[in-house]
């Protein structure tokens, strides 16, 4: 957005130059600068057009059409959008995906906060580097492998059941750990927590130590410092991490397929089904656009909240 505004400003300054009678040489220099600016603007503009505007236009074009047996029929109908809100299961699955996304965001934040807190205030430089690495390293392993690993932990023959059986707590394996919403949320939270850690940590890093020292000097307890200084300052980080983990959880389709139960279908599974087996691209496009709209709304809201809570020093 700021890039796009620059040429306009340049035009304005040229106009100013003309009216105030600045030498033709300086005007020429301005023109060259403007041409150069346009040249550097071209790649991002082209990227934006080819990878954003064009695909979204195609998506919109498809969403207005329909499929008759084997052929796509272009059209100008909003029927697909109406169907998303009036026919089962689209809206309810979207809401369920949102619910799982929210659970994922909350669980990730709860796991991430103490870790980020430790990293920011208590860890020595050496340990910090080490823990930081531990947060990042799981990303080198494939998503699928990590999701499968949870099967071996939560399954009837898995680690938890084997331990409980061994301790004599239960006499037959429990099935309540795997293939349900709990295992989906747990897997998603496990996989996406690093995002929350990094975004909360980045925000906690900004808490000035001088502020804490002053508070300590004035006799504030540690709890008071956390409640009145650290937590308020870290809120934008929690919101940013929450938006990221929510979006990733909401749009996930692997976890429900691998560790989900009979009713753990999510919206991305439906979109895949519509694109493949059902051969209903218009409907898939309509759902895609609605999700994009929801995403834009969420980001705008988060942006506003972040601004509201942002503390400037």
């Amino acid at each position: 957005m700021e890039d796009a505004a620059t040429p306009v400003m340049t035009t304005a300054s040229v106009a100013v130059a003309e009216s105030t009678g600045i030498s033709p040489g300086a005007l020429k220099a301005k023109k060259i600068e403007r041409a150069r600016m346009l040249f550097w603007l071209l790649p991002p503009a082209a990227w934006f057009f080819v990878f954003m505007i064009l695909p979204y236009c195609m998506l919109f074009y498809y969403s207005l059409g329909s499929v008759d047996y084997v052929v796509f029929k272009p059209g100008l109908s909003l029927a697909n959008f109406v169907r998303v809100f009036t026919t089962e299961p689209y809206l309810s699955v979207m809401l369920k995906s949102a619910k799982i996304g929210i659970y994922t965001a909350i669980l990730s934040s709860i796991i991430a906060y103490p870790l980020a807190f430790y990293l920011a205030f208590h860890a020595s430089e050496a340990i910090k580097r080490y823990v930081y690495l531990l947060v990042i390293v799981p990303w080198w392993a494939s998503y699928l492998v990590k999701a499968y690993a949870w099967k071996t932990i939560l399954g009837t023959g898995g680690l938890i059941n084997a331990s409980l059986l061994g301790l004599g707590v239960i006499d037959h394996p429990l099935t309540l750990f795997l293939y349900n919403e709990f295992s989906v949320t747990l897997t998603l939270a496990y996989i996406f927590t690093p995002f929350a850690v990094l975004s909360i940590y980045a925000q906690l890093e900004r808490v000035p130590t001088s502020l804490i020292e002053v508070a300590l000097d004035q006799g504030a307890t540690r709890m008071e410092i956390f409640r009145k200084i650290v937590l308020p300052i870290s809120i934008p980080g929690i919101i940013a991490g929450g938006v990221i983990t929510f979006s990733l959880g909401f749009g996930d389709f692997v976890a429900p397929a691998l560790v989900g139960g009979a009713d753990s279908i999510m919206i991305s599974n439906i979109v895949i089904n519509l694109l493949g087996a059902a051969y209903d691209w218009p409907m898939a496009a309509a759902i895609g656009l609605i999700i994009i709209a929801l995403g834009l709304g969420l980001i705008t809201l988060a942006h506003r909240l972040e601004h509201q809570f942002q503390v400037r020093f």
Partner: protein, 369 residues
């Protein structure tokens, strides 16, 4: 073959080509065709196929190349839609495709394939009677494909979990098996509920019948722990005793043979679904001299036995089994796949006009709490 038999998560990159997009791709295709003109003229003795993995394996392609002098290049597909979409987009580059029986009529109706001259297939008399001009390949008295691999969707249950082998699909609905079954995440499971309800044509149900099927599937749901997507997943679920049964492919039965808990291959009175893939000639490719040489070759019992070693599927030539090593032969016979009577009881897949509606109901069932 059932979609997803390959790496399950692989998705079709097929698309629906709208007017503008189609014109664009046609224009691109024309340019490509022009630039490749020299090359294609030089390699007249070659075959391009769009097939499932395992349908052009080197073990039987290499002997063919030597014998016929034809070069073979194969592109693998992940879903039937991919075959359809590629031919729809003006697939002048492919000579042969191998769609399943729920897609073949779509290709025929769209005029994308040539009729077959069965007289040119010397092994055709040896085909199972059921697979000579089957309904999913016949239109206006012409046959549009040569049947190849096939399989039956099995109903399996742990022998220890039932008093005696079930004879009907009804046991799947028994409330005492709450959370004990895994069913295939595919509309075949919807067909099975329809067969259980004794609906005549499960591939062309009206809205009223579909509503009943949905109700039956919702009643079945408490018994379902997991909807599986690959044969490997179903095998793992059974091996880990996460579930005691459900529907499965032959692969699961074969792999579970060595397990300590025995699996019953249920033959329900309602029948079982079956898939069958066919070689089809892309429009205009009949003139390629290699096409019939290949169709003749892959229809032979010997070549199909080599194919079976790779895929484990049933094949159209009834004499294929004579060329199998003893262990494979025994396993194949145990599955009843050498018996023409088995094929007669199979409810062979057909194209479903209301496929999108079927799938919507299937998604509704999966989404229900």
């Amino acid at each position: 073959m059932p979609e997803g038999r390959r790496v399950s998560q692989r998705e079709s990159n097929s698309g629906i080509r709208g007017g503008l997009v189609r014109r664009l791709s046609q224009a691109l295709g024309a340019v490509t065709a022009l630039s490749l003109f020299g090359a294609s003229a030089a390699s007249a003795d070659s075959l391009n196929m769009l097939v499932w993995e395992g349908y052009a394996d080197a073990s039987f392609v290499e002997p063919f190349k030597k014998e016929s002098g034809c070069d073979v290049s194969a592109v693998y597909v992940g879903t039937n839609d991919e075959i359809f979409a590629k031919l729809m987009a003006g697939g002048g580059t492919y000579d042969l495709v191998t769609p399943s029986n729920d897609t073949t009529m779509k290709l025929i109706d769209a005029g994308l394939v040539d009729p077959i001259d069965a007289g040119k297939i010397s092994a055709e008399p040896d085909f199972f009677p059921m697979l000579k001009s089957p309904p999913w390949l016949s239109k206006d008295g012409k046959t549009y494909g040569v049947p190849y691999a096939w399989g039956i969707i099995r109903i399996v249950v742990d022998a220890a979990a039932v008093a005696e082998p079930p004879t009907s699909l009804a046991f799947l609905w028994d409330p005492k098996y709450a959370g004990k079954f895994a069913m295939w995440d595919d509309i075949e499971t919807l067909y099975e509920a329809a067969r259980y309800l004794d609906i005549k044509n499960v591939y062309d149900m009206n809205d009223e019948e579909l509503a009943k099927v949905k109700e039956a599937l919702l009643k079945l749901k408490p018994n379902i722990r997991k909807y599986w997507t690959t044969a490997g997943e179903m095998t793992t679920l059974l091996q880990g005793k996460e579930v005691i049964g459900g529907n499965a492919w032959e692969e699961t039965l074969v792999k579970m043979r060595g397990a300590d808990h025995k699996l019953i291959d249920v033959v329900p009175k309602e029948g079982r679904g079956g898939w069958s893939d066919s070689w089809m000639i892309a429009k205009g490719a009949s003139s390629n001299v290699c096409v019939y040489k290949w169709l003749n070759y892959v229809s032979s019992a010997k070549a199909q036995a080599l194919g079976h070693a790779i895929t484990g599927f049933g094949y159209s030539n009834s004499k294929m089994v004579d060329f199998l090593p003893d262990d494979q032969k025994k396993s194949f016979e145990e599955l009843g796949m050498t018996n023409p009577e088995t094929l007669k009881t199979v409810s062979w897949w057909q194209p479903v006009k209301q496929r999108a509606k079927y799938l919507e109901i299937w998604n509704q069932v999966k989404a229900a709490q």
